[in-house]
């Protein structure tokens, strides 16, 4: 077996698989890139050839137009592609629509690059699939034992109880444009919320794209043009930067909510002026990180970004060799960065 550290290594551009000649989620423009998912810290503009799921490619085109890559190649989940002597396939990561883990096989060894992932069910994307491997490359955004995400339905229940308790007020939820917004809408629909859901302008294009790609989101309306009185008792979704600033003045005495794994910690919620924190995350929590690592059974785990100190420590106690890759540039969109 050729150990993965000989053919998968960290370069200034990001993780590079030399025998296949591809970078995975490179942070600078490269000739050939495999993209795990559409978040801006993983999918950057200006690459030559881009390989990803069809959904991720569609998201990239919607977000960056021309910058989405000179040549795009879609690869369905489970299909194997040969790149030189490397067999490459994509399997679902459960993070956002189109998100994939990259399975790389070479010289009798298998590496699994997970991108970002979660284990909680998500009605807007395919569920994470564990693949046994020799090296597991994982994120560690929420790798502290204080981060345990409650069931999302429970959080949606808290939101709906608040809507019932304050029927005169607008509930505005800060959430990220890709993934979280659509998941929240789908969770609200699952919980029986049939009314229109109102959107800040920046959330609309990706919600439309999700709908075009077959994700049911129900009736969506732009909040920007709505009469203030129409938003009484309504649920409005907006990017985190807008919820406590001037944009929110158009709302009726808003209850400021924020949907993020960081909301587990009170000080984080207080800093943002959040009145109703909702602990809903698209990343694996502490228990799910450890569970996933046990399931893939890799003797060696590489940590791309996040709290690698705590995770590597916990892995050592389990007899797993942990290694912090210190990849720069990851965790800058979505929950990886301090929510403003």
């Amino acid at each position: 077996m050729t150990p993965p550290e000989q053919w998968l290594r960290v370069t200034p551009q990001g993780l590079f698989c030399a025998p296949a000649g591809v970078f995975i989620d490179p942070t600078r423009p490269v000739a050939r890139a495999v993209i795990t998912h559409g978040h801006a810290d993983h999918a950057r503009p200006g690459h030559g050839a881009v390989l990803a799921t069809a959904e991720t490619l569609a998201i990239m085109r919607a977000r960056m137009g021309e910058g989405a890559g000179d040549r795009q190649q879609a690869l369905a989940y489970g299909e194997t592609l040969r790149l030189g002597e490397v067999a490459l396939r994509l399997v679902p990561a459960g993070h956002v629509l189109g998100s994939a883990q990259v399975v790389l096989e070479y010289g009798g060894a298998r590496a699994l690059v997970s991108g970002d992932y979660k284990r909680q069910p998500d009605p807007t994307c395919a569920s994470f699939e564990p693949v046994p491997c020799d090296v597991f490359v994982t994120e560690a955004t929420f790798a502290l034992p204080v981060f345990r995400h409650p069931p999302p339905a429970q959080e949606i229940g808290r939101l709906l109880r608040s809507v019932a308790l304050f029927p005169e007020r607008t509930h505005v939820i800060g959430c990220y444009a890709l993934g979280k917004a659509q998941r929240l809408i789908a969770l609200l629909r699952q919980a029986g919320w049939q009314q229109p859901i109102w959107l800040h302008g920046t959330l609309i294009p990706l919600c439309r794209l999700y709908q075009e790609l077959g994700v049911e989101l129900g009736e969506l309306r732009p909040a920007t043009v709505a009469e203030k009185s129409a938003l009484r008792g309504a649920i409005v979704l907006a990017p985190p930067s807008a919820i406590a600033d001037r944009w929110a003045r158009r709302l009726e005495d808003p209850v400021v909510c924020m949907a993020s794994g960081w909301m587990r910690v009170r000080q984080r919620a207080k800093q943002g002026g959040v009145e109703l924190p909702l602990v809903i995350s698209d990343h694996a929590d502490w228990d799910d990180l450890l569970r996933t690592i046990a399931e893939v059974g890799a003797p060696e785990v590489w940590v791309t970004h996040g709290r690698d100190d705590a995770l590597v420590h916990a892995l050592a106690q389990r007899g797993v060799r942990g290694r912090a890759l210190h990849l720069v540039g990851l965790g800058e969109e979505e929950e990886g960065v301090d929510a403003a």
Binding site: P145, A244, A248, R264, R266, E275, R307
Partner: protein, 536 residues
């Protein structure tokens, strides 16, 4: 399920800045929770429950035995608050299916369980709760809920929920005890109003309206009595066979902070007056009284350095006789006779001010510049003592505010409805910088006085003239002059400028005035000096 319900309430209260929203949450609690849990929760919120058996160290040991020390340290470092860290990191045990405890059950068990059995008991509860429930339990045990619910707010919510007047609730509140079952039953119309008997209870205060010009014109001097309006804390003194209490304006028991007053209350009566720091008969600035407030324990040194006294102005009960229905003049006569007879230590009579005409009264008001006097109180001679703010019986006539033109230095976002506005302003005045130039020194902070339009204008100005950001605070170009009005200026060692303002608020935006022409610190200091010699 009720500890989780209580935990959910706490969680909402912690993050809710608005008073109206807090009231809605409390009403919902009273309406949806069973007895005795709703009353136990109410007592916990208002700080009536105190546990001494379980110390924070116990919780620390319990979590240390269940977690890896490195991960615990990393987590504590990240979260900051230790109780919260414990609540979040507590390992959930597989297969635990005991139901979460009831709030009342927890409170009872904490009181009755022998100390040696506490760790096992608490661990069992923590295993049965989720993170929110665990945090509520730990905060409950170690006594630090801090959710911003005062007793007054809880009683206002009771009034709104039940449709009873808050004054009615105030009168029985201190005669009932957790879990307040009798109180809830009365409010739900299922039982008679609880009778406090001889227990010392708070009687809702009679409050005054601000005097407007039109009211002044209609004032008949013969029908009105005048007194100074003291710059202290309004208090009610209740003493009798059932005990002695000192109540704040909102009905909070502040006896613990003023033991020397309690000691002097060797009588059977209910009195209304102003709590002040008095040295050799002279009233000290409000800042001195502030040193004595919000303290659970008072050292002898505190009592010596900041001696408290009460200036009396009304008598509500003499013995068991309720005088509140009598006209003011009769109560005043009874009060004067009572003070003459008892001569209680640390107390004196707030003098009445003779006047023959409104013009003369206005002159008296303008002449009073002592910092301890806020203005005048006008009381109608025939007014009974009625709870709350009834128009036309008592007026407060504050003296004209002082004013300075200051330069806006920093702005901070507000809370709740104002969270998107820069609505809190730090302003400064010029002083020599010691190098031949001038510098601005901050002298105060104001977050009121402006109109909605002015707020919008200021918000935009601040966003367009920001020079630095420090978290929620913006530093701005030193270019905007604000006319700031305030009730008094007092020397202060706690402020960089050496002076503290009472009730500063924004009167006007002075776009017509360049910043260089704003006032100097010495202009403000002249107000402090002017306030010194006179005394009412």
């Amino acid at each position: 399920m009720s500890l989780p319900a209580f935990a959910a309430l706490l969680e909402r209260l912690v993050f809710t800045p608005g008073r109206l929203a807090k009231l809605a949450l409390l009403r919902d609690w009273y309406a949806t929770q069973p007895d005795p849990d709703r009353g136990v929760g109410l007592a916990a919120l208002t700080g009536e429950l105190v546990f001494t058996a379980a110390k924070p160290a116990l919780i620390r040991d319990m979590v240390a035995a269940r977690t890896d020390p490195v991960l615990l340290a990393l987590s504590h470092d990240y979260v900051g608050d230790f109780a919260e860290t414990v609540a979040l990191i507590w390992p959930e045990r597989e297969g635990v299916n005991t139901p979460a405890p009831d709030l009342a059950e927890v409170v009872e068990a904490l009181e009755l369980t022998p100390k040696a059995e506490l760790p096992g008991l608490i661990a069992g509860w923590l295993d049965a709760l989720d993170a929110t429930g665990r945090l509520a339990l730990i905060k409950l045990i170690t006594g630090g809920l801090r959710v911003g619910v005062s007793g007054r707010l809880a009683r206002v919510a009771l009034a709104e929920w039940s449709g009873r007047a808050v004054e009615e609730i105030e009168e029985v509140w201190h005669g009932v005890a957790p879990p307040y079952t009798a109180l809830f039953h009365w409010l739900e119309g299922k039982a008679e109003r609880p009778d406090p008997r001889e227990a010392p209870v708070f009687r809702p205060l009679m409050l005054a309206h601000p005097l407007e010009d039109a009211d002044l014109a209609a004032l008949d001097p013969a029908q009105w009595r005048a007194e100074w309006k003291w710059d202290g804390i309004r208090v009610q003194l209740t003493a009798g066979p059932g005990g002695r209490r000192l109540w704040s304006r909102g009905g909070e028991d502040v006896s613990g902070a003023f033991p020397e007053i309690i000691e002097a209350m060797n009588f059977h009566a209910v009195l209304d007056g102003e709590l002040l720091v008095v040295r050799e008969g002279e009233v000290a600035p409000f800042a001195d009284l502030q040193q004595r407030l919000n303290r659970k324990v008072v050292t002898p040194k505190m009592q010596k350095d900041y001696p408290a006294g009460v200036r009396l102005y009304d008598l509500l009960f003499e013995g068991t006789e309720d005088l509140r229905g009598l006209p003011f003049d009769q109560r005043r006569a009874r009060l004067e006779a009572w003070v003459a007879r008892h001569a209680p230590a640390r107390m004196d009579l707030s003098p009445q001010i003779a006047f023959a005409s409104v013009a003369q009264l206005a002159e008296i008001r303008e002449g009073a510049r002592a910092a301890s006097i806020e203005g005048l109180m006008l009381k109608r001679a025939d007014s009974p003592y009625v709870a709350g703010r009834v128009k036309g019986l008592w007026w407060k006539w504050k003296r004209a505010p002082l004013s300075i033109d200051a330069v806006l230095m920093y702005a901070q976002r507000g809370h709740g409805k104002r969270s998107s506005f820069y609505s809190d302003y730090t302003f400064g005045l010029w002083r020599p910088d010691g190098q031949g130039g001038e510098e601005l020194v901050p002298v105060g902070k104001a977050y009121s006085g402006y109109t909605d339009q002015e707020l919008t204008w200021l918000d935009r100005w601040i966003r367009n003239h920001t020079t630095g950001r420090f978290g929620p605070v913006r530093e701005v170009e030193k270019a905007l002059v604000l006319e700031v009005i305030f009730d008094a200026a007092q020397l202060s060692t706690r402020h960089k400028s050496g002076v503290a303002l009472r009730f500063p608020r924004i009167a006007r935006i002075r776009t017509d005035k360049p910043a260089s022409e704003a006032d100097r610190l010495e202009n403000l200091m002249s107000y402090v000096a002017a306030a010194r010699p006179e005394e009412g």
